[in-house]
């Protein structure tokens, strides 16, 4: 029989060795919602579903710091740059 400490040790190592643990208080409705996502197979656990939400918030925060909001703003910004390359890849010929 594995001890509780060993199970935690294994879980932490599997996750890369540096995972933090936090407990979250949820309403019945919130918990049920997350459980349903797991039952539907969208996430492997409640923890994974919560992490997906956290990643989305992190992404939103990063995007809020970007200097552009639209594709045309990006294009306009980089249009001023002196081109050293053409297109996505450098134009090149291979020996046949």
């Amino acid at each position: 029989m594995f001890t509780k400490e060993y199970i935690v040790y294994r879980a932490v190592n599997k996750a890369g060795g540096s995972m933090e643990v936090a407990s979250v208080r949820l309403t019945k409705e919130e918990k049920k919602f997350l459980e349903e996502l797991v039952i539907k197979g969208k996430y492997s656990s409640i923890s994974e579903a919560l992490k997906a939400g956290i990643y989305e918030l992190m992404q939103e925060e990063r995007l809020a710091k970007l200097p552009w909001k639209t594709r045309s703003e990006v294009r306009r910004y980089f249009a001023k740059k002196e081109r050293k390359l053409q297109g996505l890849e450098e134009i090149h010929d291979e020996d046949d």
């Binding site: 594709r71 990006v74 297109g87 996505l88």
Partner: protein, 164 residues
């Protein structure tokens, strides 16, 4: 029922959405139009990452600008993906096998062959690339395959007619 067509966006055409001086109205039209199913390969994201890095290496853009551009493109593609405006296909063994045959048949580069194989396996009718790729592919491919190669500089008019 609404007529739809599968349209493959090669990485150079997606790059055109974010970086090129002359924006392609054709690509924006495809992205916005519900009748067009835009398809590309997950490989495109890697080619774009390399395209950004090359510009940093050449000092065309700064490292900071490169990071911001990468972040913007990733987020925008994710948004388009969630809205089902673009499908980024995983690379499958059948794509690789078909790409090998394409390399033999048309003497294409591996990357071009992989894009074309994915497009043909996904039954795309249109394959959009930038001008440089267009001249490389058009003559070789259009004659033999059931796919039409469009250049990003083409206007959306022809595509509009196809959808009627």
């Amino acid at each position: 029922m609404m007529k739809t067509i599968n349209c493959y966006l090669e990485s150079s055409s997606i790059w055109n959405l974010y970086y090129e001086e002359n924006e392609s109205s054709l690509i924006e039209y495809c992205i916005e139009n519900e009748q067009i199913i835009c398809i590309s390969s997950i490989w495109t994201t890697l080619e774009i990452a390399r395209g950004i890095k090359k510009r940093v290496n050449q000092k065309e853009i700064t490292n900071e600008e490169g990071n911001l551009l990468q972040l913007f493109i990733e987020a925008d593609l994710e948004k388009l993906r969630k809205k089902r405006r673009i499908l980024l296909e995983n690379i499958k063994e059948e794509d690789i096998e078909r790409a090998k045959k394409i390399i033999q048949q048309y003497n294409l580069y591996a990357s071009d062959a992989l894009h074309l194989a994915t497009a043909l396996n996904k039954k795309c009718e249109i394959f959009i690339v930038d001008d440089y790729h267009f001249t490389r592919l058009e003559e070789k491919v259009t004659k033999n395959e059931k796919i039409t190669i469009y250049s990003t500089s083409k206007t959306p008019e022809e595509l509009k007619k196809k959808l009627q």
